[in-house]
Amino acid sequence: MKMKRTVLAAALLALATGSAQAQVSGGVVKIGVLNDQSGLYADLTGQGSVVAARMAVEDFGAAKKGMKVEIVFADHQNKPDVGSQIARKWYDSEGVDAIVDVPTSSVALAINEITKEKGKVFIVSGAATSDLTGKACSPNTVHWTYDTWALANGTANAVVKTGGNTWFFLTADYAFGHALERDVEAVVLKNGGKVLGKVRHPFPGTDFSSFLLQAQASKAKIIGLANAGGDTINSIKQAAEFGIVKGGQNLAGLLVFLNDVHALGLDKAQGLVFTETFYWDLNDQTRAFAKRFAAQHKGAHPNMIHAGVYAGVLHYLKAIEALKSDEGGKVVAKMKELPTDDPLFGKGTIRADGRKVHPAYLVEVKTPAESKGPWDYYKVRATIPADQAFRPLKDGGCSLVK
């Protein structure tokens, strides 16, 4: 009899612990970093984002808290079909609970839909299109780092106000370029500026001289580069070659990253003004993060995408801890409910439309004389407070906002 009771108790106990574990699917929180591991955005995202995600798991103290967290990664080659295939495989058969990063807006929009359909979590850091929290917004998506609206608001406002009131766009011909061009154009027009022309170049491109010549002929004061990564680097380099800046026209790099400046060299990049939401040399905490990051990533310093992956993963894990479950929709709701607090972006919030808000910085690239060495590249010219840095909630057209 006694024996029977013991067995029953053991069985009950097993059942109880079993159900407690079942709240975290498979007993492990599996996070997939999906980005460009081999193409033109690989240095901006790539392994750096994987390093950042691992650092977040470490700093969260997952091991001490008894939470099992696993990071996996894959290369979407900047192709929506490749990215979608990986996402479905991850969600359907490999137990991935959340996908993070995903640069290249066309890919991110596809993952956004799949994540919603599967009821998982999508934390965007790399992609730029403001549609992710606008007409394509989803209850399963958080857009962390930056977006095209914020870039336009920061950079275009500053440029138009200092006299750059006629624009010509050099736009990467896909979702990201179109969104950036649209958002910047709106800011230019709102401030009384004019758009004299635009040209859409194939993505990725190599030779931009033909397009630059068209921009030159337009006589616009500002040539807006609505592209990213290698495309922006080559545009800036070739604009210098064709004497565009010497001829009195100015370039506005609408999305420039720390790594792009590193690759261009300060003699070519100096004086460029653009918007970032993170710079490694902002304060002691960001410097400490950069030092640890660089040690694990061949000396390269983190850019805002890497920072966003770190902060996004950290907050995601905090939400799971609070909720004691990793069920997609509920975790994102919890992420929105909890205020965010991390060493890189400081205190912030996530809005109903999935937009994470924090301050943005208008930075200017230092001259070679001002820079103390590699990675010391920016002067912060202005800080745009969190409540002004992103598109007002009511203007996005997101169906989650009532």
Binding site: S38, G39, L40, Y41, A42, D43, L44, G46, D173, V199, R200, H201, P202, P204, G205, T206, D207, S209, S210, F211, L213, Q214, Q216, A217, G229, G230, I233, N234, K237, Q238, E241, F242, G243, G247, N259, D260, H262, A263, L264, G265, K268, A300
Partner: protein, 295 residues
């Protein structure tokens, strides 16, 4: 001002010139491919990687050894060519008796490995390489500002292409080469070392890719993927010109550069595809390519 389809004629001149500059790279690269295919029957898919290696060689010479652009123009092609000969001796040689496809697969695999190694070491954003100071600045031509370096690209590429064509089609050495590919046994019987000649020819074709790489370094970022972006277009150029036709490679290289340049004015979105449209049309009308001989 006069206009053609709404584009001022002066602007059109500028675009034509830019097309010629881009065509110079197509011509240089497709020339190397045509030499290798025409004489050795190898479809050299490592060509893009070898072009990238040329650019990295120049970067390495400048930044690690302080050797400037002009010496790089000689040293980098030699180094890349030597690397090519090593590949030919150790690997490609084994495949001559087999179908073309085996050579293609081997060279394609090698290209992926080489690119992967460079990307691992140098990252994907690439390294800057400055325009040599003798060629800095530019000329105002009235209808456009032509950077001196770009003018040099056209001149150097034309000279290289014509010299190559002359050596292969008009000299005794070229005659030996062509004979050796037609009938190696007979040429060997005349006391000519055919395998060595083949190795040197492959090395030369590869060196041309390295040369184009050095020429490209100051214009584009020195980037592990620079060859991968270009190689597909260059293959289309070779197919349009006629596989193995040296004159065909040169003429179509420049010609397609111009066509692509004009597309960038009238319908920029299609500028990446226009070359493949031309390829499809040419293949339908002349399957052997514009200058290719039907075998």
């Amino acid at each position: 001002m006069d206009t053609i389809f709404g584009v001022p004629t002066q602007a059109l001149f500028g675009q034509l010139l830019i097309g010629l500059i881009n065509g110079s790279f197509y011509a240089l690269l497709s020339l190397g491919l045509a030499v290798i295919f025409g004489l050795l029957n190898i479809i050299n898919f490592t060509h893009g990687a070898q072009y990238m290696m040329g650019a990295f060689c120049a970067w390495f010479l400048l930044n690690k050894l302080g050797v400037g652009y002009w010496w790089s123009l000689i040293l980098a092609p030699l180094a890349v060519g030597a690397f090519g000969m090593l590949i030919e001796r150790t690997m490609l040689k084994q495949l001559y008796k087999l179908d073309h496809l085996y050579g293609l697969l081997l060279t394609f695999g090698l290209a992926l490995i080489i690119q992967g190694m460079f990307r691992h070491e140098f990252g994907s954003t690439g390294q800057p390489y400055a325009v040599p100071k003798e060629l800095a600045g530019g000329q105002n031509l009235g209808f456009m500002y032509l950077p001196n370096y770009r003018a040099w690209v056209i001149v150097a590429s034309l000279i290289t292409c014509l010299a190559t064509w002359f050596v292969i089609e008009r000299t005794k050495l070229g005659a030996y080469l062509r004979a050796a590919t037609e009938n190696p046994a007979l040429v060997q019987a005349f006391g000519i070392n055919v395998p060595r000649m083949i190795t040197l020819t492959y090395g030369f074709g590869v060196a041309l890719a390295g040369f184009a790489g050095v020429m490209a370094a100051p214009i584009y970022q020195v980037n592990p993927l620079m060859g991968a972006d270009l190689i597909i277009v260059v293959f289309a150029v070779v197919v349009i010109g006629g596989m193995g036709s040296i004159l065909g490679a040169i003429v179509t290289g420049f010609g397609l550069g111009v066509i692509e340049g004009l597309t960038k004015v009238f319908y920029p979105e299609a500028s990446n595809t226009v070359i493949f449209i031309v390829m499809a049309i040419v293949l339908m009308i002349k399957p052997a390519g514009l200058f290719g001989a039907q075998k």
